[in-house]
Amino acid sequence: MKSIDLAALLIGLVSLSLAAGAASETPATGGNAANGKRVFVTDGCYYCHGTTGAGGGIAGPRLAPNPLPLEGVKAKVRTASGRMPVYSATVLKDSEIADIVAYLQSIPNSTDAKDIPLLNR
């Protein structure tokens, strides 16, 4: 593991805790989840965060389930640091961010690890 990994890990830890903390207070964005999924996958969020925002380890932190609220995601997208690119409104519209958040909000909670035998070895 090199320096980039540590930085990514830090970002990941912070984001994970934010995601967990936001679980019960995420308001609806009014976005279009179907279009959000399209943008998430075709515009490349998927490459680092996984197709459902499950996270990609050092590449990108987990985003869902229980994503950040819209304003939090927007702030992250507009003022990203480290390996996360900054996406201006020219590249990614506010409405598209709202759609992405709607998509992330639509992702259900995962199965409890205790119920997966392979994760209890």
Partner: protein
């Protein structure tokens, strides 16, 4: 000299074996084409004959070929074989090249038919030959040899040599050479001649030489072996002249093979070691960080002993199998937190101390380094990483220094401190368990997703191997280190780290080399590697099939050179040009690569592409059964990016 423009059928038929090999090897200089010529030579097809005629003609016109057709009862290259096996070398990886044809012939007709055997491992590319040697050495604890053609062969192998250099791994490389220009044949011989071949890789090898006598060869081989096996380990190169290989020994002149000394790696200065112990014992929050620290199983045992003596947390950078993955003091996933609160950090064979600590140190915290990297470093390729100020830099081999450090720690520890350490250890054990639960919860996210998550992939692999004596042959950074998070590994041989320099094309060869070393121990060798990496050097699969090297190769097929997508996105976003085209040049789709077919085409049992996670376990189970029968198998898994 008669000028010939065409060779008759009788003349072609009269080519003796050595002459034929020379023509074939001279024609191509690469194994693939040489094989093609060898296969086509007996036929009467027009096209191949024409090539042969041209080469023969050019040689006749331009060169002064050495007299062939004579027989000899001895040769220099047989002696070279004896030197290599005297050094404990058991295998030579190579694709053919005419500048080492004498040595090639000696390996197969002398080395492989007498004991102790020196076996030739047939390869498809010099990069694979070196990577096999790289992976083998990390398990065998000693180098194997690899032979490369003088110019084009070494150029092919150079990147893999750089990986071995950056990974501090011994590789005993030999390149052929035709030093006497008057003995070179046609234009191919000249294109394949170089005055100072090893210069190409001198910036990232420990040592090289071009011996001009057999005694010189024996001494330089012994010297190369000694240097490569003295920490920091590294690759060496010998350029070996064709005449030296091919000429008969003079009567009664068999050179002496030097005795290799018992190697004693350098240990740290007593004063510095004692000061380190004093700081560690007095520290409230000591932290041990290990990268390529445990060269052998003994190194891992010693690191456990040190950590337990201090009840100090250990961060494993995963350069080697340094520390058991489920040991309560293994706190690798808590690196950021522990670095921030540490008052003394001991770095063992770290190549990137800055990457571990950066500017995140607590005020007054001390950094101590024990590294053989301080003993030998070069300038041009800058794999020495960012400068990091340390308080004590002990230029020594960490593993060799550990017993002295442990002894000093034990001497300095008071009963009261021991009680405090115990309390610290109990808390760390609890933290370790909590971290494990967090990892399991994270692995459960997207458990049934398609493409399959890397967590699911790794958990499914483990399910099939966990009751075997398994050995993972890849670094795990691109699989989010899931094996270290979810699996239990207690033996040094169960993990070998990554490529060293992150040069793609490493894993196919390196995993075959590691599996070769595991074979005699009956271990179940497993590699999980990316599709992009496999596309660089798929020919390694053929070598595994050809030599019946048991290896389970699981393709983490995310259908992209995944690492780079975000960088291109970053550029595109910065320039306000949209991010919808960032996949171009980064993805490996349209068409998707069918790795199962690719493997099957080389005689390897294969499954896939697996897209549904419920199909993965059964496919792996079938593949493991094949591997347990002594053959390689590949499972292609369409996966999430990381």
């Amino acid at each position: 000299m008669p000028r010939r423009t065409k060779q008759t059928k009788d003349e072609r038929a009269s080519l003796d074996r050595r002459g034929f090999l020379k023509a074939a090897a001279t024609l191509a200089g690469t194994g693939a084409v040489a094989h093609a010529v060898a296969a086509e030579a007996p036929a009467t097809a027009v096209s191949p004959e024409r090539h042969t005629v041209q080469i023969a003609s050019r040689e006749a016109e331009q060169g002064t070929p050495r007299p062939d057709g004579t027989t000899q009862s001895s040769c220099g290259s047989d002696f070279m074989v004896d030197v290599m096996r005297g050094l404990g070398i058991e295998y030579v990886a190579a694709i053919p090249g005419n500048t080492f044809k004498g040595l090639h012939e000696s390996v197969i007709n002398y080395g492989m038919t007498t004991t102790p055997s020196l076996e030739l491992i047939s390869c498809m590319h010099e990069e694979i030959s070196v990577a096999i040697s790289h992976g083998y050495a990390k398990i065998a604890g000693k180098p194997m040899a690899c032979m490369m053609h003088s110019t084009v062969g070494l150029q092919h192998g150079a990147m893999a040599i750089y990986n071995a250099w950056a990974d501090r791994v011994p590789v005993f490389a030999i390149v052929g050479a035709q030093l006497d220009a008057s003995k070179r044949g046609g234009y191919v011989d000249w294109a394949h001649s170089v005055f100072d071949g090893p210069a190409l890789v001198r910036d990232f090898t420990k040592w090289d030489d071009t011996p001009i006598s057999l005694r010189h060869f024996a001494e330089s081989a012994t010297r190369a072996h000694k240097f490569s096996m003295t920490p920091p380990y590294g690759p060496t190169v010998l350029a070996v002249d064709q005449e030296l290989q091919e000429d008969a020994l003079k009567a009664g002149e068999v050179p002496v093979i030097p005795k290799e000394p018992k190697l004693a790696p350098p240990r740290g200065d007593d004063g510095a070691v004692n000061e380190t112990a004093r700081l560690l014992v007095a520290a409230e929050n000591p932290l041990i960080v290990a990268d390529r620290a445990a060269r052998t199983a003994e190194g891992m045992r010693l690191l456990v002993e040190l950590a337990e003596a201090l009840q100090a947390p250990v961060i494993d950078i995963y350069g080697r199998m340094n520390f058991p993955w489920r040991h309560p003091l293994n706190q690798t996933r808590r690196q950021a937190l522990l670095v921030a609160e540490a008052d003394v950090i001991l770095g063992l064979e770290l190549t990137d101390f800055w990457g571990v600590t950066g500017n995140r140190l607590a005020a007054g915290a001390k950094r101590i380094s024990i590294s053989s990297g301080d003993l030998y470093m070069k300038s041009n390729y800058q794999d020495f990483d960012r400068f990091t100020p340390v308080d004590i830099a002990i230029a020594a081999d960490a593993q060799t220094t550990l017993p002295y450090l442990i002894e000093a720690v034990r001497k300095l520890t008071t009963a009261r401190q021991r009680a405090a350490f115990k309390t610290r250890g109990a808390q760390l054990a609890q933290d370790h368990q909590e971290t494990l639960e967090q990892s399991r919860a994270a692995a459960a996210v997207g458990w049934d997703l398609q493409p399959i998550t890397t967590a699911r992939l790794c958990a499914e692999v483990y399910e099939q191997i966990r009751n075997e004596d398994w050995a993972l042959c890849n670094g795990t950074i691109f699989q989010n280190n899931w094996p270290q998070q979810l699996w239990t590994a207690t033996h040094h041989h169960q993990y070998i780290g990554d490529a060293g320099a992150y040069g793609l094309g490493y894993l196919p060869g390196a995993s075959v080399g590691a599996a070769l070393a595991h074979r005699k121990h009956g271990r179940l060798a497993v590699a999980i590697g990316g599709d992009g990496d496999l596309m660089f050097s798929p020919g390694a699969l053929w070598t595994a099939a050809h030599h019946k090297i048991p290896l389970l190769y699981v393709v983490h097929n995310n259908r992209a050179y995944h690492q780079e997508v975000m960088y291109v996105q970053m550029m595109a976003a910065k320039r306000q040009r949209g991010i919808d085209r960032a996949h171009i040049g980064n993805t490996i789709t349209d068409p998707n690569v069918d790795f199962a077919k690719l493997a099957a085409g080389m005689g390897v049992y294969s499954e896939g592409p697996i897209t549904d996670p419920k199909d993965l376990g059964p496919a792996l189970q079938r593949a493991v059964a094949v591997v347990k029968r002594g053959e390689p198998a590949l499972v292609d898994v369409v996966s999430q990016g990381r």
